[in-house]
Amino acid sequence: MPPTLTDPALAYLLAAAGLDLTDAEKADLVGIHDSLAAMKARVRQKRGHMAEPAHTFGFNEEDLG
């Protein structure tokens, strides 16, 4: 089961994002929370520390010039 999105947790997240939502909008977000949590579970794989983000970069010629 995904973690429950409590009212205080949602209030904290929205405040951090600087969003001021109506009660209906908050209910809308609570309603899709499980679906979003399922997406988050899918990107978490058993992986080692060398499994780096896709856009970890090297230095190109311009950096070295």
């Binding site: 969003l19 977000l29 899709i32 979003l36 856009h55």
Partner: protein
């Protein structure tokens, strides 16, 4: 006049057998006749179009065409900056926005001598949709105006399908070129990430955004991409690879071409409608008959690709529009408001885990394609739904077949693979290796020319 393909028009114009002014006038007539129904245009630049056409015609008569697109009527999605012409992103927030400078893609098309017909309907900031609470209504599907075009390059697809333009610019963050191409029965390619500059185009999600051509055929898209591709210092992700001849392989035999079928995507992960499945099965049989080597490919489930791309998209979009989300949230459409609100629920750690997953998925696709030239799967699961039948939270309703190739950055084209029981188009995707668009066009063109799907235009426009 029967509306020609871009390739046909280019040949006729070069041979001085088709007047750009007459062609432009025909397109304007179609806009006049059908745009009240289709809502493909946000702005029709009639005076500019006729001026461009007259200039092109005079130059061609004097010196011949400067490019295969010289004198060709085209349109730009309304998130593409155009100097002196409103660029509203179909948003209340930018109703008065008139850019000073053309986006790189607009400038390259202008330099090639194209005729700008206007700015094309989009979902707001290339997101959400269809929305009925925006300054303009959503585009309608030319095959049946009660139905959805998909988006976000909705106006471009509707305008090409109905012959109001011969080609146009779309943008694609999770399928916004290929989805509308699929549902409107045209061709649309998302090139390799970085091939077409994003400079001057409103962002949707930085690392997933692609700009690309939409037209009636794959060959038309290849001709348009030839003009658009190439390095641009104004885009930090612009690729520096030399631009190949994208039409070089068109007409070549498929003998020996290695084609993989990601069968589980469309047969198990998200089972497509029988008409979509038939289109793919017919294509596989046709490719085999033409000498291609066919094999099955197995990747991670479509849902994994969709989750990875969606989390990245939600977060990057929330970052791109953070200031307006904080200060003007109610000025966005309801659908885009919901998308922006989602950003509050995705943490930095979630985003990084998605980007780590992205590397794994890209590595997986590279390995799967090591001995292949292209892979194919569905373009959309079914015919177009009704305009009022699109789920409020469509991102969670079902995975889509297009976002895996935004996640990977690989080139992917959607082509019409037939028609469903409602008479609306169905589609498949052909996906190539990075910078191998020429092979994608070769396979797509071979399919189009061996079938009769390109001979049928929407009944609305004849």
């Amino acid at each position: 006049m029967t509306i020609p393909t871009l390739a046909e028009a280019a040949r006729l114009i070069a041979g001085r057998k088709l007047s750009p002014v007459e062609l432009t006038t025909e397109c304007l007539t179609r806009i006049e006749a059908h745009d009240d129904t289709l809502h493909a245009f946000v702005v029709v630049t009639e005076e500019r179009a006729l001026a461009d056409a007259r200039t092109a015609e005079a130059a061609i008569m004097r010196d011949g065409p400067i490019s295969p697109l010289h004198g060709i009527p085209m349109g730009l999605k309304d998130i593409v900056d155009t100097a002196g012409i409103p660029t509203t992103c179909q948003s209340k927030i930018l109703q008065d926005n008139i850019p000073q400078k053309d986006a790189t893609c607009a400038a390259r098309l202008a330099a090639a001598g194209t005729v700008l017909m206007g700015k094309l309907t989009t979902h707001e900031f290339a997101d959400g949709g269809p929305s009925f609470d925006l300054p303009k209504p959503p585009a309608a599907n030319p095959w049946n105006p009660a139905h959805f075009t998909a988006g976000s390059s909705s106006g471009t697809a509707a305008a090409v399908a109905s012959g109001m333009i011969l080609c146009g610019i779309g943008t694609d963050t999770g399928g916004s070129i290929r989805g509308p191409a699929a549902l409107c029965g045209i061709a649309g390619i998302k090139p390799t990430y970085g091939v077409v500059s994003r400079a001057g185009v409103a962002p949707a999600a930085f690392s997933l955004d692609h700009i690309g051509p939409m037209a009636w055929t794959a060959e038309d898209c290849a001709m348009m991409l030839q003009v658009l591709a190439g390095p641009d210092a104004a885009d930090p992700a612009s690729a520096t690879q030399p631009v190949p001849d994208y039409t070089a392989l068109i007409g070549n035999s498929l003998k020996g071409v290695r084609i993989g079928v990601i069968r589980h995507f469309h047969e198990q992960d998200l089972k497509v409608a029988p008409s979509v499945q038939k289109g793919i099965d017919d294509a596989v049989a046709l490719f085999r008959d033409q000498g291609a080597a066919i094999s099955d490919v197995t990747l991670s489930p479509l849902q994994d690709w969709h989750a990875c791309g969606s989390l990245i998209s939600i977060t990057e979009r929330a970052a791109a529009y953070e200031e307006w989300a904080r200060t003007r949230l109610n000025d966005f459409s309801e659908r885009v408001q919901r998308r922006l609100m989602l950003g509050a629920l995705v943490s930095g750690v979630d985003y990084v885990q998605a980007v780590r997953r992205r590397r794994e998925l890209r590595t997986e696709l590279r390995a799967a394609m090591a001995e292949l030239d292209v892979v194919i799967t569905a373009g959309a699961p079914n015919e177009a739904p009704k305009l009022d039948g699109v789920p409020r939270w469509d991102v969670f309703a079902a995975p889509n077949f297009t976002i895996p190739f935004n996640v990977a950055g690989y080139p992917a084209i959607a082509v019409c693979s037939g028609f469903g029981p409602a008479g609306l188009p169905v589609s498949m995707q052909i996906v190539g290796k990075p910078f191998q668009e020429a092979t994608v066009f070769q396979v797509a063109d071979a399919f189009e020319k061996a079938t009769d799907h390109r001979s049928k235009r929407p009944p609305l426009v004849g």
